[in-house]
Symmetry: D2
Amino acid sequence: MNLSGIVGYPVTPFSDDNGNVDFDNLGRVIDTLLEAQVDAIAALGSAGEAAYLTENEWQQVAEYTVKHVNHRVPVVIGIAELTTAQSIKRAQYAYQVGVDMIMVSPFSYYKLNEDEIFGHYESISNATPLPIMIYNNPATCGVDMSPQFMLKMVNDITNTCMIKDSTGDIQRMHKIYKLSNGKVPFFNGCNHMALEAFNAGASGWCTVAPCLIGKQPKQLFDAVKQSDNEKARELFYQQYEFLEFIVQLGLAAAVKSGFAIQGTPIGGPRKPLLPLTELKQKQLKTMLLELNSVA
Amino acid sequence: MNLSGIVGYPVTPFSDDNGNVDFDNLGRVIDTLLEAQVDAIAALGSAGEAAYLTENEWQQVAEYTVKHVNHRVPVVIGIAELTTAQSIKRAQYAYQVGVDMIMVSPFSYYKLNEDEIFGHYESISNATPLPIMIYNNPATCGVDMSPQFMLKMVNDITNTCMIKDSTGDIQRMHKIYKLSNGKVPFFNGCNHMALEAFNAGASGWCTVAPCLIGKQPKQLFDAVKQSDNEKARELFYQQYEFLEFIVQLGLAAAVKSGFAIQGTPIGGPRKPLLPLTELKQKQLKTMLLELNSVA
Amino acid sequence: MNLSGIVGYPVTPFSDDNGNVDFDNLGRVIDTLLEAQVDAIAALGSAGEAAYLTENEWQQVAEYTVKHVNHRVPVVIGIAELTTAQSIKRAQYAYQVGVDMIMVSPFSYYKLNEDEIFGHYESISNATPLPIMIYNNPATCGVDMSPQFMLKMVNDITNTCMIKDSTGDIQRMHKIYKLSNGKVPFFNGCNHMALEAFNAGASGWCTVAPCLIGKQPKQLFDAVKQSDNEKARELFYQQYEFLEFIVQLGLAAAVKSGFAIQGTPIGGPRKPLLPLTELKQKQLKTMLLELNSVA
Amino acid sequence: MNLSGIVGYPVTPFSDDNGNVDFDNLGRVIDTLLEAQVDAIAALGSAGEAAYLTENEWQQVAEYTVKHVNHRVPVVIGIAELTTAQSIKRAQYAYQVGVDMIMVSPFSYYKLNEDEIFGHYESISNATPLPIMIYNNPATCGVDMSPQFMLKMVNDITNTCMIKDSTGDIQRMHKIYKLSNGKVPFFNGCNHMALEAFNAGASGWCTVAPCLIGKQPKQLFDAVKQSDNEKARELFYQQYEFLEFIVQLGLAAAVKSGFAIQGTPIGGPRKPLLPLTELKQKQLKTMLLELNSVA
């Protein structure tokens, strides 16, 4: 599986009436990403509020996403479950409905040690033929995996073949690149470090940004690929404050608010998560107006 | 409700055969705590691996604990769910089966802001008449609540009336005591700071230690109450390395291993959690032999 | 040498006219400490702005302090120099003028490793017969020494015999006590942890507080010694906000402002340090009025 | 003054006999940098062990450097003194001997607040016509300055016109660039982030690396300028482990050891700093052999 470029993350819309997943709007969100020319769709990630869905909802979103994308781009599905047993169940379901790849993070209550994390990934790998992207995001998952340890898993566990890191620490990317001689593909999940991650050798950028600013992330990727450093820098700084802002606000709440601002109300996040305050909505509106008129 | 002294935490034993909750052994664990003269039983906390149970298992453990304790001491039940809806459901179940108090922590995937946390506690308080202990443990729950914010919730939300803090930061306790004029009861969840937490005014110590070292935590509490500083210091340093060690190892795995070492095998933790390595088991055995022969 | 209780820290007054050290006022500051019944005087510490003095000024302050104290209590002198050569020179001067003990911290520009720190202390020990208190304060000195490492130095280097720790981490004190079987005396330099440090076994409290609130620190020490926990806690919380406040403000600026507020203007700190803002002065005044009317 | 590219940092050699500054070897070090095509020479920085020199030595090194460079490239001199008075004295001396620019950092014992830091820079600016580079390096200087605050100083204080940041936090560079609309030149002092700092818009890279690996840093700069991303990435990863290694070892000790390894023994660092251990020397030798044979 050859993945590179912009990996777009849909949010999971809920109905204002009953709080259930709103599949029509989920289709609209996915279409928005495809129009923004993303190179893959990664559903049920942080932005997709996967942590707040029931098992049944999770399954429905996975299945719907695969059908709706319909092979136009690869579909990646995030798995971040507290028990190994539940993670395996989700991985098997994902395979069954035709997902192309799973992205697994060691979401944890107790801090897991490396033996525990290794065992977790190994058990999942043994239970599915799907390729696995190892996802490190200590801010949401509660444990941190070093580049060395992730590379060891890529080496020792059959299906683990890629790495996503969202720490925003450029040195992690240097380590992954250097220690693997540039052989293990890695993806950047820190929006406001997108430019430098590409420069450091990242294969792609995992982001919700195309939900709100269309092709601009893809244009940044293309500029770097074409070695047009001036243009890449210009495109990056153009998006910079927006990228930093949505991370600060929480991606799910920010993107859902942004859809409403741009004319497609898709509901708010699930409690305890709250929608943006009015002040934040105004700030986001100003940014989006500026960004999308420039583009 | 008047809670003080030693709040004992049972682990949740699983059967080696099928991995299900082993209620006979759960009864043995609770009995061990009661023999150690704990002043309350707090089930389904971190040590109880609540995060790794299904909803059904969780309910069964809550119900069993209430029945088995049978009013000998108050029963506290921990609630740490990602959605507000699920937390409410658990709180209502706890009330229904006769729990005396719930201990609620804002377990989170996305970092919650104060408005979100406040709304979470308020919604739970509105859904149950049970008194609520606010529990701050950023190491497991992913968000940190300041003393000021927790006191605001105690003040503004009907059923929140006590605080448990496990950060191990003595200054938090100073702030709670000082800002509430010593009026809001607070509990220490950092085992290896037990002595000083009592000195700073903590009402109690939330701990798994009596599972393995019997009355020694209670003796420490009594010594402080009797202003016998020499004895309190001696008792504390006697337990110190053990207390620090079980925190480092992960409480569930450590306590389960300790039960086996002392002749009551109750199975290991649930995956991805792993049992102690053989080396760690030996170290724990040495400590327990020394501690329990002294006592 | 038997040191315990309250170790009082004089500030170093400068003349408003020419910025030179004002020895008359230094005498007044020392007298204030002695009237507050401190058990030792420690000049040229952080509070004494030693880092901002010329070598000549430093020597004069050391000599003056010894003469003015005149054996009423032991005199400790702080040494925090960037080079080993300069530290030795200061240690030898201190011995020559009759100082009882030196308190040495590894002030650093480059982060020093343990070999470098060990060599530093060893060289100083070889150059003077004075007992040495090892002083750990990463906030000002830029390097952190673990309890294990400091105990190793106490063990392996001839004149190092005591430890002062200002990190405010109660676990450091537990480690020092436990690993040395209570044999190596340690002192607390974190003002707003004074109560618990004594409970944990600290021999003394190193503090500027008696400059401004008289015998109250000594009363706290006495209450703990007499195992009067209620009184100790009351005395501690009475002083708590003041202790925390002066640390936040910077000790030198805060104490100098406090002297002025209480009728003895002794000038401000040396630039780039600035005196307290008017707002902070008012807050300090309110605290001092309350504390000193109660006492 | 137009500064960009590679700013080379000489170490300050000491004689093995008497520990005095060895000016012949200082000349050799400067020549090595010039042969490596650095765009400026910055003496008396961290690598120059300025913190460990007497005032007299510092003056001699400043004067010697200006004379030896003899206008071939601009000369920058570092000033990191604890008092404002001493900093002014150094700045005036630097001007008097013909230095082109000073690089000022707020080296501190007490953590300085922003008013104190502002006053410090303002006083120095008022005392000299030299352009001032604001230098932020909390790891050595003990205080951290935000991009916002440094830009405020560039704006409000006459002679402050450039920024050097050594935190290795790429987001600081984003902030400086974005908030100043790319107008305020900034320099990167974190060796192992050199590639991305240039991508983010840094004007230059402040580094000791050319002391040991010749023109390779300059080649990296040129590749970025020519938008040859492939070559820039290759050059960067070629140097990466070396760059990270010398930072970990301490720049002064590492560079001095490297000179000896490559046939120019120039003595070790000043105590308490120690030379590299034999093991580290071997590792450095291996790296240098590889890097300099490739080049």
